[in-house]
């Protein structure tokens, strides 16, 4: 039977994918094509082209992009009934470039299978790795994962095999496997897409880990902001249990393993492993000193192995295809692929999976298709969310692997990658991240609680035009203090956005402090809402976007802003590709 694949992950749904899917079903029935076509709701494939719709027959596959509910009838009548594909809606070169440059291992099923149908997962080799693993000795599984060179994808980059070994060797009658699905970094959505698009791959990885360390229970700690992921995970857990891949005596080997889902309640710090454990135990999510590490004393004081979603999703491929295959991908120190969430001012936004060692330039200008607006130039890439840093264009040739990135002062993080252009103010970005970490600091350590607050106060003064030269020294000193004197990863990395922007964009700070200018035209207190006549291209874009009609413009004339009417909403500044409004 031929299939119509419709991407209905959270991002697809935001672009009316559910409506599109329902319309297809309705019209297929109406035109009596339901014997020939089946609508399959797949997870997000990664490229955000509103709704992606694939028509898959035995010998062909055509992809439609930017499909809206009003296009469905045309596709059904012209293509499915008439046999003539709707040319103007077919995916173009960007789509091809975006996918051809990738190496999809973790994402291989995302956007291809119905995540709520275990049969489709099994048909693509699912649970074969678990079958292999249950007949292996614990140490052999651990050795395979170790020699594959898999490192934790949550941000830390700790060798996964070693982590498993510690937990295997720890004494304890009960052990736990915990999946960290508390993807709290703003700007990161890799884990959400995997959970929504291929939940069984995570479950299979966890079961293999359970077999390796000798655990019988698993917990997935998932962000409350991801309701669809929770729903699909629960469905997958139930189905896996019904098929005997979870539960007692799996495949008659005597190995038993079950998984429960715990929903987070909105606290970024719970991504830190000891805080996450406290939260599962029903307490405030406060990190505690390590050692003892969770591998020795974790959930309910039992040995616990915690890995992130993407790490678990890699495991089945390593067991199925072998450590040699996996370690042949990537660089010397960083093996395999990494999924990045490409977002911001880039043309093709979405998820990309590339071998470790790919350069930033390849990602932004290759797969990403370059900047969203050709007139406004690439300025920086933000890696690793609030714990990471902003890297300038001059580092665009750098290879993306754990070691190279750490050397820049940023971190690999979980894989969020926000592309920024000349209309992004780096001081404002630092202020934005500090606002976030001040809000999310748990408050235990004084340097993090008070120091970050003071750094934020100073950044607010700078962006408000009250900056002083001595503020720069203060930010550097306080940043180093907070980094070195905090207990957990949150405090140890929270100053990074401020420190890296100061390191690479010192000139922007200088302009804010000394000249009270914001070169990106972002900081409200430094804006005049005046059109710079020399730069104005007389295009009228600003006038069209103004919601309060405060801009006077006639064809061929320089625009003028009526400050009486202006509400300073900044729509015009954002719309102007020539940066002609200051």
């Amino acid at each position: 039977m031929d299939k119509i694949l419709i991407c209905t992950g959270t991002s697809g749904i935001a672009a009316y994918a559910v409506e599109v899917a329902c319309l297809f079903e309705e019209l297929i029935k109406k035109h009596k094509l339901d014997e020939q076509y089946r609508v399959v709701r797949v997870g997000d494939r990664g490229l955000f082209r509103d709704v992606l719709v694939d028509v898959v027959t035995e010998d062909s596959r055509l992809v439609y992009e930017f499909v809206k509910p009003e296009n469905v009838e045309q596709i059904v009548i012209e293509h499915l009934v008439g046999g003539r594909p709707v040319e103007k809606l077919l995916a173009g070169k960007d789509y091809e470039d975006f996918f051809s440059g990738q190496m999809r291992i973790v994402l291989s099923n995302c956007g291809e299978i119905d995540p709520e149908d275990i049969g489709e997962y099994i048909a693509r080799g699912g649970y074969e790795a678990l079958k292999t693993a249950v007949s292996m000795e614990s140490l052999d599984i651990i050795e395979t994962v170790t020699s594959a060179g898999l490192r934790g994808r949550g941000g830390g980059g700790f060798p996964t095999g070693l982590k498993w070994k510690f937990c295997f060797e720890a004494q304890g009658d009960e052990k736990y496997v915990v999946c960290n699905a508390d993807e709290g970094d703003p700007g990161a959505f890799m884990d959400r897409s995997v959970l929504e698009g291929d939940p069984h791959s995570v479950i299979e990885g966890m079961a293999i880990a359970g077999r390796a360390i000798g655990a019988a229970s698993g917990v997935i700690y998932c962000r409350a902001e991801y309701p669809l992921a929770v729903k699909r995970l629960q469905c997958a857990i139930d189905d896996a249990g019904a098929r005997g891949f979870l539960g007692d005596n799996i495949m008659g080997t005597g190995f038993s393993f079950d998984i429960e889902i715990m929903q987070g309640a909105g606290a970024f710090v719970c991504g830190e492993e000891t805080a996450l454990i406290a939260s599962i135990e029903g307490k405030r999510g406060l990190p505690r000193p390590r050692p003892p590490f969770p591998a020795v004393k974790g959930l309910w004081d039992k040995p616990t192995n915690i890995n992130n979603v993407e790490t678990f999703a890699n495991v089945r491929h390593i067991i199925a295809k072998g450590a040699d295959w996996y370690s042949s991908i990537g660089t010397d120190g960083s093996k395999g692929t990494k999924v990045f969430a490409l977002a911001g001012k880039v043309k093709n936004t979405g998820l990309v999976e590339v071998p470790m060692g790919t350069t930033i330039k390849d990602l932004v200008f290759g797969l990403g298709g370059g900047m969203a607006r050709k007139m406004v130039k690439f300025k920086a890439v933000q890696l690793g969310g609030p714990s990471g840093g902003c890297l300038p264009e001059s580092l665009a040739d750098m290879s993306i692997d754990y070691e190279s990135i750490t050397g820049t002062g940023a971190i690999m993080g979980s894989g969020g990658m926000i592309i920024m252009d000349q209309q992004t103010c780096m001081v404002d970005v630092a202020r934005y991240f500090l606002e976030f970490t001040v809000e999310e600091s748990c408050g235990q350590c004084t340097p993090c609680r008070v120091g970050l607050r003071r750094m934020l106060d100073v950044l607010i003064e700078i962006t408000d035009g009250r900056g002083k030269p001595k503020h720069m020294t203060f930010l550097k000193e306080m940043g180093e203090t907070v980094k070195s004197m905090s207990l957990c990863g949150l405090g140890q990395t929270a100053p990074n956005p401020a420190l890296t922007t100061m390191r690479y964009f010192q000139d922007e700070y200088d302009l804010h402090v000394n000249k009270k200018e914001c070169p990106a035209h972002v900081c409200p207190e430094l804006l005049k809402f005046k059109v710079i006549e020399d730069k104005c291209a007389k295009c009228g874009m600003c006038q069209k976007t103004c919601p309060v009609d405060a801009i006077e413009w006639k064809k061929g004339e320089v625009a003028r802003i009526d400050l009486e009417k202006c509400t300073e909403c900044r729509s015009c500044i954002r719309a102007c590709p020539f940066m002609a409004i200051e």
Partner: protein, 159 residues
């Protein structure tokens, strides 16, 4: 889902929820989530009943409620507007959207309009970064928002 916001807390309802969780370890967070699903917020009366039934101090429950951003101690509006302030949404104009909503609705973050129709909240990241700026109203996502689109969305919900 739109919040129910009933102020009548029935002891039997709360006890029923507690029974559902009692045998498990680490019950407090899932239990409080269930209470909030039912009432739209966590009422004071519910905290007192839970504290008595589970033999914990109310302060420990408030400790959890105020630690996690997801819990609410006051009734909320019929429609919850969540403006995403994730990095991608922020640099794509999320702040402008938020300012516009504050102005149009006449409320600040975490406040409810006088007619009880809207509560305005911000959220760190909804995970739709490729569709930014993103706004979520109740359970529905709106991607690639601008000020005009926001006005249309508000009208959809009876502004």
């Amino acid at each position: 889902m739109p919040a129910v916001n009933t102020s009548e807390v029935k002891k039997s309802d709360i006890v029923g929820m507690i029974e559902h969780h009692r045998e498990k370890k680490g019950v407090l967070i899932p239990l409080l989530q269930e209470v909030q699903d039912r009432y739209g917020y966590v009422p004071k009366e519910a905290v007192e009943i839970i504290a008595a039934e589970l033999d914990v101090y109310p302060v420990d429950i408030y400790g959890i409620l105020t630690f996690y951003a997801q819990f609410h101690l006051k009734p909320r509006g019929r429609h919850i507007i969540k403006v995403c302030m994730g990095t991608a949404c922020y640099i794509m104009g999320g702040k402008e959207i938020l300012d516009h909503l504050k102005g149009t609705l006449g409320i600040e973050i975490d406040q409810t309009t006088e007619d009880g129709n809207f509560t305005l909240e911000v959220v760190s990241c909804l995970g739709c970064c490729g569709m930014g700026p993103v706004v979520m109203v109740d359970e529905k996502f709106y991607g690639r928002c601008d000020l005009q689109k926001m006005d249309e969305v508000l009208q959809e919900y009876g502004k």
